[in-house]
């Protein structure tokens, strides 16, 4: 069967899933999905607390350590920088010590055939520790298994990394109150490979492609470079 090549990210699959499932009280609108497909991201105006904390996890605390013991986090395109105290970064330092062998920010790509399409899944995992996939999530709210168990992100990772059977979500709750300042709570939840994972992923890719076809946005998922992979 002749197949056309398509490029999809787990982030697009997640947007489609949230839209179709009407999660967050239907917060994700059709226009949001279209923007994601077209690659029209809302420009970030400043570095937020969550993003800064994620940068600490992503790049390691050492990079931002200042001579006075504080941590100054900057983002190349942002007009502000956020300074964390050593105490606020304690959980990240402890986490780094727990996984000294981790390789951060690994780009992972792979193919899956869905109907008439040959789909390239492009993603980046926060960290690989041997055969364990680690993903960091920051939020001001307490998060738990139920927030991620249906996610297509970890399903995509497990599909793309056949030697891995386990994904660990590191959940950092950034509790910022006037009374106590910033306090960081840390927890984890794990997800495992299961029978039917590929079928679940295929189903959502199919739905995503159907959405793109019906909204005539499929071309955005077929940039010039991927056409060389057409069968």
């Amino acid at each position: 069967m002749a197949r056309k090549a398509i490029n999809i990210t787990p982030s697009l699959l997640e947007t489609v899933r949230k839209y179709r499932m009407e999660l967050y009280n239907g917060f994700i609108k059709k226009e949001d999905v279209l923007k994601t497909i077209r690659g029209e991201y809302e420009p970030k105006v400043e570095l937020t607390l969550g993003s800064a904390f994620h940068l600490l996890l992503q790049n390691g605390t050492e990079k931002y350590l200042q001579s006075d013991g504080s941590y100054k986090v900057v983002d190349a395109s942002m007009p502000n920088e956020i300074i964390f105290t050593a105490e606020q970064v304690e959980t990240v330092v402890a986490y780094e010590q727990r996984v000294p062998f981790g390789v951060k920010e690994c780009k992972v790509n792979g193919w899956i055939n869905v109907g008439d399409y040959k789909v390239r899944l492009s993603s980046k995992v926060d960290m690989l520790v041997g055969t364990i996939i680690e993903e960091h999530k920051t939020s001001k709210y307490a998060q738990s298994t139920k927030d991620f168990e249906d996610s297509l992100q970890w399903r995509t990772y497990l599909y793309l990394l056949p030697e891995c059977d386990k994904v660990v979500y590191n959940l950092f709750q950034l509790n910022n109150t006037k009374k106590y300042g910033l306090r960081v709570n840390y927890g984890t939840c794990n997800f495992y490979r299961y029978k039917g994972l590929k079928a679940d992923l295929s189903e959502w890719i199919k739905l995503t492609l159907e959405f793109a076809k019906s909204t005539q946005t499929l071309n955005y998922l077929r940039p010039e470079w991927i056409k060389t992979y057409d069968e």
Binding site: K195, E203, T215, T217
Partner: protein, 433 residues
């Protein structure tokens, strides 16, 4: 394993496999599906009965029945209080030693929470109860904590735990019937979470998560048919599931050790590399590796490449003009792919040195970022905030199949010409997490 060992302590090197721990298995299903009977097939179980379901069970084993004591219409003692007394007095451990119990069955998890722990908490601290006799928000927090402590205490006695639960259905999906945040505690702490149901005339246990039920499957089990209770295979069914799960966890741990060691060897090679040529040789060699190893080695090579390039070309840059010149030289020195990666790295490098990119004039300039403390920073993007706040009232309507809510069916619009994506070399764009 490291030789260092004293009572109560064990030193485990980061690259060593973690010894298999005791497991928590959750079996949930509709009434009459045989959950309690199935739990008796665990390895030498002690059954803690909070639900009066023992009478109907097949193949009964040792059991302790917990009931609440009510005198003159007043609650004197809850079943959970008795359970706590048993544990705290040390008699529980005596029983475990005497009968060599290996597994504790909690039957049912939901009843333990709703009918035993919740009244116990309200009885001891009335502020946990509301006027309707239920728990307050604070009470639910205490309930979750109490349950968590109980599971941790039992596991601490080197026992496996099987929690039997009734099933309930929400948004078309079967899940264990439990109160408050305890379901989350259970899902997070368990290793196996299986739905027991009838498929035709066969009883089936599925640990795999599906669209119609929750599951957790550390062992990679397929859908399991439960043998007839008179069959020999049935007698140790749950015991075997737990044994296989432990073996799997142990093998993951072994594979993990081997993977860490293999990647560490490559990491050492990358660190020792002094030329771009040596790095390229390592990258080519990594192509023979399995995917998971390969992506790690390639990431390490790229990191090293960036830092070597920075050392070679960017060390000692003194002013904005020099930074601009260095930026312009990148595409001249490396190929397109590396140029893009190096571009991200350059902007990050420059920012930390106090320079930033002026998009309008396409030059590097002195950075004038405003410093904020963590407390002053915006917590989250407004959109994300709104989304999460609404989450509490979220209601799933659509089904992730083609038959999804027709409202959501999209209609084809007039074809629009695809927009060209912007060039990425000069402007740092952060990829989606």
């Amino acid at each position: 394993m490291t030789d260092f060992k004293i009572d109560g302590l064990q030193l485990i090197a980061p690259s060593e496999p973690i010894p298999p721990k005791n497991t928590i298995t959750v079996i949930y299903g509709q009434p009459g599906s045989g959950k309690t009977s199935l739990s008796f097939t665990a390895n030498n179980p002690l059954h803690l009965d909070f639900d009066d379901g023992l009478e109907r069970a097949v193949g009964r084993k040792m059991s302790i029945k917990f009931t609440s004591v009510i005198e003159d219409g007043e609650l004197k003692k809850t079943g959970y209080e008795a359970c706590k007394e048993l544990i705290d007095s040390g008699k529980f451990l005596q029983l475990v030693d005497q009968y060599e119990f290996k597994t504790i069955v909690i039957d049912t998890g939901g009843t333990l929470l709703d009918d035993h722990i919740a009244p116990y908490l309200i009885h001891n601290n009335p502020k946990y109860g509301n006027s309707a006799g239920g728990l307050t928000l604070q009470g639910y927090g205490a309930l979750k904590q109490e349950y968590k402590t109980l599971l941790r205490t039992i596991k601490g006695f080197n026992l496996d735990i099987v929690v039997v639960c009734h099933a309930t259905e929400k948004d078309g999906k079967h899940r264990p019937k439990m109160t408050g945040g305890s379901l989350e505690v259970l899902k997070e702490s368990c290793d196996l979470l299986g739905y027991l149901f009838l498929e035709g005339n066969k009883r089936t246990l599925d640990f795999n998560p599906t669209e119609s039920h929750f599951g957790k499957n550390v062992a990679g089990f397929k859908r399991l048919n439960i043998p007839h209770y008179e069959s020999e295979k049935y007698l140790e069914f749950v015991a075997n599931c737990i044994r296989i799960a432990k073996e799997k966890m142990s093998s993951i741990s072994e594979e993990q050790k081997s993977a860490i060691n293999d990647v560490a060897e490559y990491k050492a090679q990358v660190e020792q590399a002094e030329t771009f040529k040596e790095l390229t040789a390592i990258e080519i060699d990594a192509n023979k590796l399995p995917t998971t190893y390969k992506v790690q080695v390639k990431t390490l090579v790229l990191e090293k490449f960036n830092s070597m390039y920075a050392e070679m070309y960017w060390d000692g840059l003194e002013d904005a003009e020099a930074y601009t010149q260095a930026l312009l030289e990148i595409p001249e020195n490396v190929d397109q792919y590396k140029s893009r990666q190096l571009g991200y790295y350059f902007f990050d490098f420059a920012k930390l040195k106090g320079y930033t990119y002026d998009k309008e004039n396409k030059v590097m300039v002195l950075d004038e970022s405003v410093a904020q403390t963590a407390e002053q920073a915006v917590n989250e993007k407004p959109a994300a905030k709104k989304a999460t706040a609404k989450k509490a009232t979220a209601k799933k309507k659509a089904v992730p199949k083609k038959k999804a809510n027709p409202k959501k069916k999209t209609t084809a619009k007039k074809a629009t010409k695809p927009k060209k994506r912007k060039a990425v070399v000069v402007t740092p764009e952060i990829e989606e997490e």
